[in-house]
């Protein structure tokens, strides 16, 4: 990816941050974890930063145009630790939110790579744009 394209993407994300995108959906910016939603052709791509989480600690449920993500990050034994700085968070979360359209629940894939969860969801047939020929 060209640096220029990437800088554009960062700018674009900043702009989106300040804009209400899907009125009426259950997105709420103050819920954990923060999410970014992208689109590529007819696929929705949701990305979220979950450093320190393991695959087995996460659960994803999708129903029509709603997604539920939940998880737990456990802290290791801290008994013999003398902390100087504690900024990383541990605990549980559960977040439900609406997608801009229905997705095909048979065609969903999720990957966890380097602490980023990526969920790819294909648009449901019923939600795809159809052009209607005028008779």
């Amino acid at each position: 990816m060209l640096l220029e394209n990437f800088l554009n993407l960062q700018k674009h994300l900043d702009e989106l941050f300040n804009r209400e995108l899907f009125p009426g959906t259950t997105f709420s910016r103050r819920s954990f974890p923060s999410m970014n939603l992208f689109e590529k052709n007819d696929t929705l791509i949701l990305k979220t930063e979950l450093p320190g989480f393991e695959k087995k600690d996460l659960k994803i449920e999708v129903k029509e145009n709603s997604l539920l993500l939940s998880g737990t990050k456990k802290e290791s034994e801290t008994e013999d630790r003398n902390y100087h700085r504690r900024e990383r968070l541990f605990g549980t979360f559960s977040r439900q939110f609406g997608l801009p359209y229905r997705v095909d629940t048979e065609k969903i894939s999720a990957t966890l790579l380097d602490g980023i969860l990526t969920i790819e969801m294909e648009k449901a047939e019923s939600a795809k744009v159809r052009s209607i020929a005028i008779k």
Binding site: Q10, N36, E49
Partner: protein
């Protein structure tokens, strides 16, 4: 301890005194620092960074961590909605004299960098038996 509800924490952008030569966003990674008798341990959240893109340097007493994410992961993606921005990570730490500098160990797992800084032998606490 696992019953806490996780809360959103905004990413903090790096503030530098020197002018940057590029306009890419750089964030300060959240870090835990703790020690025990033998070592000092740093755990740094660097989501989206592969271990090959982490550069750790120790110069004089400053340990610097530079972690670069992969812009190509976002190639051809059209953003619809955003709650956080993406960028590289950078942070510096001042290291004391008690660290065994040649034996610093680093590993990356699930987007978390773990640095282990062993303490110099003679500084480790010792039990003195009372005769």
């Amino acid at each position: 301890m696992t019953a806490n509800e996780l809360e959103v924490k905004d990413k903090k952008e790096l503030e530098t005194t020197s002018e940057k030569t590029y306009s890419c966003k750089v964030y300060v990674p959240d870090t835990d620092i703790y020690e025990n008798d033998k070592e000092i341990i740093l755990e740094v959240d660097i989501p989206g960074v592969n271990k090959n893109d982490v550069k750790i340097q120790l110069e004089n007493s400053v340990l610097s961590i530079e972690a670069k994410m992969r812009p190509q992961d976002y190639d051809k993606l059209n953003p619809l909605y955003s709650e956080y921005n993406i960028g590289h990570f950078y942070r510096e730490f001042r290291i004391g004299e008690m660290v065994e500098r040649d034996k610093i160990d680093a590993s990356v797992n699930n987007g978390v960098l773990k640095l282990t800084l062993p303490k110099i032998e003679k500084l480790k606490p010792k039990q003195i038996a009372v005769r």
